[in-house]
Symmetry: C2
């Protein structure tokens, strides 16, 4: 059945993409975009950076206007227009004009829901204070910026996820004192805890006070000061508070229309992005997606997937069979001088999914060490024990993180194994990488473990039987070692074998795991049962900060 009218609820990432795609596929279709806020297609991910002036011009964030979308795509875009009801029987929606209060109905042949997700605002005592902000929209940003520009000196950021960390960075850039409160024992929950250590160190190094395993008990706004009381009993004074404890899918409209929703919220869709009503599609932060890696239902409020889903929904509505492959959970965050990224499943998710995984850690220079400016990357790679398929990767470092995440993301998308990583032919000149790129190295380390060439142990399972040997150099040993370790450098190893008893499993470690691998190969071929500490002393320090 040919359709003549498409209505889209929400005009930012997924909604705007769906509208543009629909127009490119059908020049004659009537397309109406209803946006509750004052702006469509704005640069959501840029909001924190205008607050600090890093993005100087506010206009830069307003990518399109209703007029520009009319010009290019002949779209009927209506801002300040909230959809308050879906009348599925009549194929109509009910719209409230927020500026005038007028309520009216609009027909649709097909409907796309792209309402996004709303920042959580828990019912804490004092939460209604005007000094407490969330950040989702341009007006939210304007309010925070006004508070900062008015001379705020101290801020408390609640929540250490993407938005929380970005706000910390930008508030510090404005010169504020910043406390960061996070309920978990780590920031950036998409990372595993040991991989978040680098972020904790970066926060400390930039004078951000981090309160882990803590939460807000109450806010108190008195005449002369505003106080945040934490569950631990600590009290923090603040001129402003950013609540960034996560987002909730805006699924109320869908639920009220009896569309199927997920157990933990979110609109359920099939692989074509259709909801339980075949004339209604949904995309973006409000929908439940399948994890590419674990196959489980997840909520991933990210711009990339939202854009892809918008395109796919429009495709299917206009007669193309276009399939959404699921979401990998690729994400990246910039924090002062550090970058942390992830793609695929983290170890926490793999444990929950009961997948038979294994993992390795490594540390590799982002480009050859001999070229000026080399910086260490810390990499954690999770992979299937059965066949080596890559399940997830986490990378932290000063530079070159995004590149390796993108290589791993591409590898996961194509179902590559750790053996494939070994064979990747990546771009190498001294400025960019190494003949054996860190992505190759991750493959080598993982494949060595999978093939049984070296057995590894991890820093959270240290032996206590005196079998730990530090095989690093004198100067490394002098700067600290793992308690209880004996010290036999790698060059000495072959000549000091008599000091190593064969009765017990030998546990060797070096700085990053490379020399430990060599030592383990020597010892295992000489009849020892031996294990190498994955990621070496640096990973030990990440587990034991």
């Amino acid at each position: 059945m040919a359709i003549s009218k498409l209505v889209i609820v929400g005009g930012v990432a997924g909604g705007a993409t769906a509208a543009a795609r629909a127009r490119r596929l059908d020049e004659k279709l009537e397309i109406v975009v209803l946006e509750r806020g004052p702006y469509v297609s704005f640069a959501n991910c840029g909001l924190p950076y205008h607050i600090s002036g890093e993005i100087a011009e506010r206009e830069e964030l307003l990518l399109q206007t209703p007029e520009s979308l009319k010009d290019r795509y002949n779209l009927d875009v209506r801002v300040f227009s909230e959809v308050i009801e879906i009348d599925r029987g009549n194929h109509e929606i009910v719209i409230k004009e927020l500026e005038t209060g007028r309520v009216y109905r609009e027909k649709y042949d097909k409907l796309i829901l792209a309402p996004g997700a709303a920042p959580a605002r828990p019912p804490i005592a004092g939460i209604e204070s005007e000094k407490i902000f969330t950040l989702r929209s341009v007006p939210d940003m304007d309010k925070i910026k006004a508070a900062v520009d008015a001379g705020a000196k101290k801020a408390v950021v609640v929540g250490g996820g993407f938005i929380g960390l970005e706000m910390v960075e930008n508030l510090k850039r404005c010169g504020l004192e910043v406390d960061l409160v996070e309920m978990l024992d780590q920031v950036m929950p998409p990372l595993d805890r040991e991989m978040a250590t680098a972020l904790h160190n970066e926060l400390a190094g930039n004078n951000v006070t981090l309160h882990l395993k803590d939460a807000v008990e109450s806010f108190a706004d008195s005449s002369d000061k505003f106080t945040v009381t934490l569950k631990s009993g600590k009290t923090l004074e603040a001129d402003l508070v950013i609540m960034a404890i996560g987002v909730k899918p805006e699924d109320e409209l869908a639920r009220n229309a009896n569309l199927e929703t997920g157990e933990r919220g979110g609109i359920l869709v099939d692989e074509h992005m259709a909801t339980s009503d075949p004339d209604i599609y949904a995309v973006g932060d409000a929908v439940v997606v399948k994890s590419v890696v674990t196959g489980t239902d997840i909520l991933v409020p990210m711009a990339g997937p939202a854009n892809r889903q918008g395109r796919i929904a429009a495709d299917n509505i206009l007669g193309r069979n276009s399939v959404y492959r699921g979401t990998q959970g690729t994400g990246i965050v910039h924090l002062f001088n550090l970058t942390a990224g992830i793609t695929g499943a983290n170890e926490k998710q793999l444990i929950q999914s009961h997948l038979d995984y294994d993992k390795v850690y490594l540390h590799a220079d982002h480009h050859v060490k001999y070229y000026p400016g080399a910086e260490k990357l810390a990499i954690k790679l999770c992979f299937s024990k059965a066949d080596g398929r890559i399940l997830g990767a986490q990378v932290t470092g000063v530079t070159g993180v995004d590149k390796r995440i993108d290589v791993f993301a591409t590898a996961i998308q194509s179902g590559m194994t750790v053996y494939d990583l070994e064979e990747l032919e990546l771009a190498y000149a001294p400025q960019y990488g190494a003949a054996k790129d860190p992505a190759n190295m991750a493959g080598f380390v993982a494949a060595n473990s999978l093939r049984g060439d070296v057995k590894v142990f991890h820093a959270n399972e240290l032996p206590v039987d005196g079998s730990l040997i530090d095989i690093r150099d004198d100067d490394e040993f002098a700067e600290g070692t793992i308690p209880g370790a004996r010290f036999i450098t790698l060059p000495q190893l072959r000549s000091r074998l008599n000091e190593i008893p064969k009765e017990q499993t030998v546990h060797v470690f070096c700085q990053v795991g490379m020399r430990g691998y060599v030592a383990a190969r020597i010892l295992s071929q000489l009849g020892y049962e031996v294990r190498n500490l994955s990621g070496g002393y640096l990973t030990y320090k990440a587990f034991n900060p």
Copy 2:
């Protein structure tokens, strides 16, 4: 048959890797590494950068010494040791000690040849001058550095490939005047000519005089000046000349031993890196490899493949079935403020291979435009017409080039199609990319073309029938357009259809190809036969500098 002695000829990239790998696999194997030069395992790719002092310490380039390799890997490394004969019948090689002149024989069970490739030095009149240098080894580097440090003012670099361009950059960094002479009509032959335009512009912008389609006729070294005469008749004065016109595989030892070699030189090996003698393997710049994309025999003197081949040769010698998958031809070069990279086949190779390919061009910001510092990437993507398999990618730009090359390289390795590129979930935050990354965009543009959603035309096949329409904005048009184009902006298009005759094919173009795609979709749905200029005006300028 267990082997007890492995001899390796050549101790740099492939040879050193093979030796280390062999030791890790077999602690008891006798491993002898014979290196003609004074150094093993040095940082070949770093040599140009020490000449300018960008890499300040010469020692940084000497990654390993015979002593360090003895310590860690228990290798018997002999420098200044040239292998002058292989006695296959007796499983012996003949070695000449270059410092003493002593000649002796050494037994082997298995032999690995890793002799590398030598810079070409054609028999041009005057070529024997001491002012003419090639760059392959540390002593070569030392000589060039000495000439520069002695006060050289003017240099002529002959050959615009990787080494030539890197030398141009580093000699300019030293303050020299530099002329670059290249026989072809472009530098960086691995790129297609239009993609090399950015390099030509970068050379011009950095006051390097580029002589394309020219070559050296003769050198003349008189008492007061050294002159380079070109075939065009131009004469250039110089204090030093770098010959960087390419390398030749060092296959003489192999040929003298009647091992099979390729038509254009190079040692022939199977997928296990074994030569025609099952007890002799060969790796690195001296061997002929198969192109992953075209399947043809190629010579690719790059460090990454050499390292992989070294590992694979050692694996097979020590009983593991390890297969070399072929070479993609991934390469990258840094030139002043520009980076140019390639992976897979270029268009020239695809034409030669008679593959049924198609191509698209695009220009995309390396990260979102609204975040400070966005720089345009120029991308050329070649893919199979039949199924969309990615065959090759070329990227130039100021930053973010290496990342996209690595994503494309990974995609090619895994056999991905342009449709897969559309679905990649890459790392996005404003500092790193976009919700639709340039790699996704390349997929969209190519898939749009393959699906027939938009027909493209290329800047080397411009229509001359008056059917060209510039749909850009006023300010873009004012800065120049394609001769003969009419001017109808995209926002005006729908209201000025009466000006566009339906009888002839309409050819639209915009700045980079995006708006042209929208215009083409509008027109084609309204019954026009229409084509969009791939890559838009920017690609037109690359074809017509």
